[in-house]
């Protein structure tokens, strides 16, 4: 039931369709007999940078482990560059033969090797020339000077370790790189630098990446495709704007940025739009294709709510947070519902709200379906 919306706002989107670097076909993965993933499908064109979001514990790391060959899916197929690497018919390619680079959620550096040797390992283990210069250059680009290369991992800070792990994952120019929250231990400026660096490097060398993150900002910045894992399945697989503006589920909406929901009653649906009313205003808002008249959720991002006007629904500011040159306000409606809005001032007290219907999104109420129940 993954929903695809087509948006052509991203320059990469215009390229002709390329060969698939990664196909995951209907896999099921278990951990000690609990089903963690169920019926996950994924196809990644060569050269794509895809980001995967999902609640903590939704199985993102597990999916990467299955792709890397650290776990054997109990059902389904994994193909890399057209080659079947895992199936229930007995296909199996050992992890070291898959030609993958990976950054683990913990840095997982080998404590007995110097930083440089950690980085050079993928080259050595594949019998390639251990190119010291390239390793040092990579480290340098990630703000790790040559002196650091001689240290042991335990002498580095958390973020430094994570950067070493990134260098290790890409040194051997793998065709597919899996990254499990690689930047989550880094500060804002280095993170931006590494993002720029990764983006350039991956595009240049045509590397395909699947990047797990919990930061939607990061996902939208890096990813040309965004996936959402929820309830053991891929809930959405879409472009950044598609995901942000037209989330397939309530969870996807929450995960992709600040949002609040209003329970509403949809009176009619036409041409992808829903008719409903909020605080006595009648609105026509874009809607989920599966939405039917009846109870529904109105997802309102802060930019869909204007609060600096002089008229509209009355609400109280209950929290004002400084956010990138503006204030993010949390507002409480008289009925107790809460909304978010941006404002130039952080002033507390009463505001009057207006909803911009074109920025709102109406979707069916979430039905709780967990992987356990479906299996």
């Amino acid at each position: 039931m993954a929903v695809e919306y087509i948006h052509h706002y991203h320059p990469e989107q215009a390229r002709p369709i390329k060969k698939l670097a990664l196909e995951v076909d209907n896999i099921q993965v278990r951990h000690s007999n609990r089903v963690i993933l169920q019926g996950v499908n994924l196809a990644l064109e060569e050269g794509t940078y895809a980001c995967l979001l999902g609640e903590s514990g939704s199985g993102k790391s597990t999916l990467l482990a299955a792709i890397a060959g650290m776990l054997k899916p109990s059902e389904g197929i994994v193909k890399l560059h057209g080659e079947m690497v895992s199936s229930t018919q007995g296909h199996w390619l050992a992890p070291e033969k898959r030609g993958i680079g990976m950054v683990f959620q913990e840095p997982a550096l080998w404590p007995h090797m110097r930083v440089l040797d950690n980085v050079l390992f993928p080259l050595k283990s594949r019998g390639m020339v251990p190119d010291r210069q390239r390793a040092l250059a990579l480290l340098e680009k990630m703000d790790l000077p040559a002196a650091t290369a001689e240290r042991r991992p335990h002498e580095l800070s958390g973020g430094q370790r994570q950067r070493v792990a990134i260098a290790r994952a890409i040194i051997a120019r793998p065709r597919l790189v899996l990254l499990d929250e690689p930047l989550s231990a880094l500060d804002h400026s280095i993170r931006e630098e590494i993002r720029t660096f990764l983006r350039a490097l991956f595009r240049e060398e045509g590397i395909t990446a699947l990047h797990v993150t919990h930061d939607p900002e990061e996902a939208f910045d890096l990813g040309t495709r965004i996936g959402f894992l929820g309830a053991g399945r891929l809930a959405q697989w879409d472009s950044p704007e598609g995901v942000y503006r037209c989330p397939a589920t309530e969870t996807v909406a929450r995960l992709s940025g600040p949002v609040r929901f209003l329970p509403v009653m949809v009176t009619a649906v036409d041409a992808g739009h829903a008719h409903l009313s909020v605080s006595k205003d009648s609105l026509r808002v874009p809607a989920h294709p599966e939405l039917r008249p009846g109870p529904a959720l109105l997802a309102l991002r802060p930019e869909a709510v204007l609060c600096d006007s002089e008229s509209g629904a009355r609400a109280t500011v209950i929290r004002a947070q400084w956010s990138r040159g503006r204030y993010l306000l949390e507002l409480e409606l008289p009925e107790g519902d809460r909304l978010l809005s941006y404002s130039a001032t952080g002033r507390m007290g009463i505001r009057y709200l207006k909803i911009r219907p074109e920025d709102a999104w109406c979707l069916p109420p979430e039905t709780e379906l967990t992987a356990e129940e479906t299996s």
Binding site: P95, E96, P111, H112, R126
Partner: protein, 537 residues
């Protein structure tokens, strides 16, 4: 590949350990030679044997006490060496290990030289002499002597485990309100529990099977143990192989129980590999010095004193001193010198070979799977068998008319015997080492292009390295001083240190024997010190 290694190690272990044990088992079901025809098997007749049960109880108490003494001592030293190392740690470590290099028999002799009725302590410090003597000649005394001698074993295992524990866990406990002790119990202890269990298992079985210390001390205490029971069956004719085998089987049953108790502890280990630097600490010299004094300097000193005496009864004074014994041993070409050389070469090759095999087996067990539990058990059992019995099993197997490998009668049989005897030690070390490597580090290796073999050599082995070296040194030390199987298995025309010493003690020159012991102990200490100093991180 996976099946290959599993099959290979299984096969080698079966030959090395299982075959002799099976033959011994078969022997235990023979009737005793002195009994009437058609009598019950030796194993069954043990059931009604009062002497046997008494010895069984004695063994349990002695081994239990020895374990109880040796673990805290080993742990204490390991803690000091790890967290508050004394200055010049490299110097102290070999001294801590020396007691383990001495044959237990010799340690016991040394202590009766020291604390006996006419011993050095009695002569010099009267007040201390009497209580010390009555302590030495008691169950606890025997256990203490065994513990002095086995503490280094627990030290080696625990030290390596401590080095691998995660300091962040300790910090977390301290900050959340636990004092240093409590934090240790919360954060460090569970991590080293597998190593502690392994050490306890090894020490318990080693002291249950040990003959030397009871042989020297038990006659004074009146405590009987199974190993002397075996000796009774084997030393006086008609030689009673079935009875010895039956007792051996019972001891192996004890080993099985100990192993079953140990297993759940070993399984639950989550790997942590962290490092921490620690600054030298002067006060920790005191306890370490005390241990070195008690376990190393005093006994070695007593033995050195004797080895320098012309006549033992004349006591230690200038007129009675001589270098003659050393001169005799070190004159190249003498039988003593040949024995020394044979021992060192043999022990070195056994240390390397056995550790490799242990590493392979531990890998198979670490991976889990059908056969792993059996390998784990097999690797434990030789430890429970008294040396004599095991040696008989080795003869029965390697000398069987149907055995196509003509090792018996060749020097290699000693290598095989040492490998069998020391395998449990090597295996425990390898196993503990491997179980401390976090899986994600291995996964990272696989993903980045290393084959299982590559991961094994480049990641698992280096991370387990401290324990592998620890294990190899233990194997080396044990091989250097192994007596009982050497006595029974040495091919005609060959001698090793221990048999040379034994022959000298029995019917030759005590001084030569003591001198050879000193040289043996010091040369293995030297080799060990070098190995640990250069090969460990």
């Amino acid at each position: 590949m996976k099946q290959g290694t599993a099959l290979f190690t299984g096969l080698v272990l079966a030959i090395l350990v299982l075959a002799p044990l099976l033959l011994i088992g078969a022997e235990a079901f023979q009737p005793q030679p002195s009994s009437s025809p058609g009598a019950v098997s030796a194993l069954q007749s043990l059931g009604q044997d009062r002497y046997f049960w008494e010895a069984f109880g004695g063994t349990l108490r002695l081994a239990g006490l020895a374990t109880l003494f040796a673990i805290p001592v080993g742990l204490g030293i390991a803690l000091l060496m790890n967290y508050a190392p004394p200055p010049a740690r490299r110097l102290w470590e070999p001294l801590v290990l020396v007691p383990f290099l001495m044959p237990p028999y010799l340690t016991a002799v040394a202590w009766s030289l020291l604390a006996g009725p006419m011993g050095l302590i009695q002569q010099n410090m009267h007040a201390l002499g009497m209580p010390l003597e009555s302590f030495l000649y008691s169950l606890s005394g025997m256990a203490a002597v065994m513990a002095l001698h086995l503490s280094p074993l627990s030290y080696v295992l625990l030290r390596a485990a401590l080095g691998n524990s995660d300091p962040a866990l300790f910090k977390a406990a301290r900050i959340h309100g636990a004092g240093a002790m409590r934090a240790f119990a919360t954060a460090i202890l569970p991590g080293i529990l597998p190593a502690m269990a392994a050490a306890a298992l090894l020490i318990f079985l080693a002291s249950a099977e040990e003959f030397g210390v009871p042989a020297v001390l038990s006659s004074y205490t009146g405590i009987r143990v199974l190993s002397t029971t075996v000796e009774e069956a084997m030393n006086v004719w008609p030689v009673d192989l079935p009875r010895a085998a039956a007792v051996g089987l019972i001891l192996s049953l004890l080993g099985f129980v100990a192993w079953a108790l140990y297993r759940p502890l070993a399984k639950d280990n989550r790997g942590q590999v962290g490092r921490r630097e620690s600054t030298p600490c002067w006060w920790s010299l005191t306890p370490i010095l005390a241990f070195v004094l008690l376990a190393t300097l005093l006994p070695i000193g007593a033995i050195i004193a004797v080895s320098l005496e012309k006549a033992i009864t004349a006591g230690f004074h200038p007129a009675n001193l001589t270098w003659r014994h050393y001169g005799h041993i070190l004159s190249s070409g003498s039988s003593a010198f040949l024995a020394l050389r044979t021992s060192i070469l043999l022990s070195l090759s056994v240390a390397i070979g056995t550790m490799l095999l242990a590493l392979l087996s531990a890998t198979v067990v670490h991976r889990g799977g059908a056969g792993s539990r059996w390998i784990d058990l097999l690797a434990t059992l030789p430890n429970a068998f008294p040396g004599v019995v095991l040696a008989v099993g080795l003869i029965l197997f390697w000398n069987a008319p149907w055995n196509p490998l003509p090792l018996y009668g060749h020097l290699a049989i000693l290598g095989v015997a040492y490998a069998t005897v020391t395998f449990p030690y090597a295996f425990r070390h390898a196993r503990t080492g491997l179980s401390q490597v976090p899986t994600v580090l291995e996964q990272a290796g696989r993903v980045h292009g290393a084959s299982p073999f590559g991961v094994f050599w480049r990641i698992r082995v280096p991370l387990a390295w401290p324990l592998l070296i620890g294990g190899a040194t233990v194997v080396f030390a044990l091989s250097m001083r192994e007596l009982v199987t050497s006595l029974l298995l040495q091919p005609p025309g060959v001698q090793v240190i221990s048999t040379y010493v034994f022959n000298q003690f029995q019917q030759g020159n005590m001084g030569d024997g003591m001198a050879m012991s000193v040289i043996g102990v010091l040369s293995s200490a030297l080799i060990l010190g070098l190995a640990r100093g250069t090969l460990q991180r």
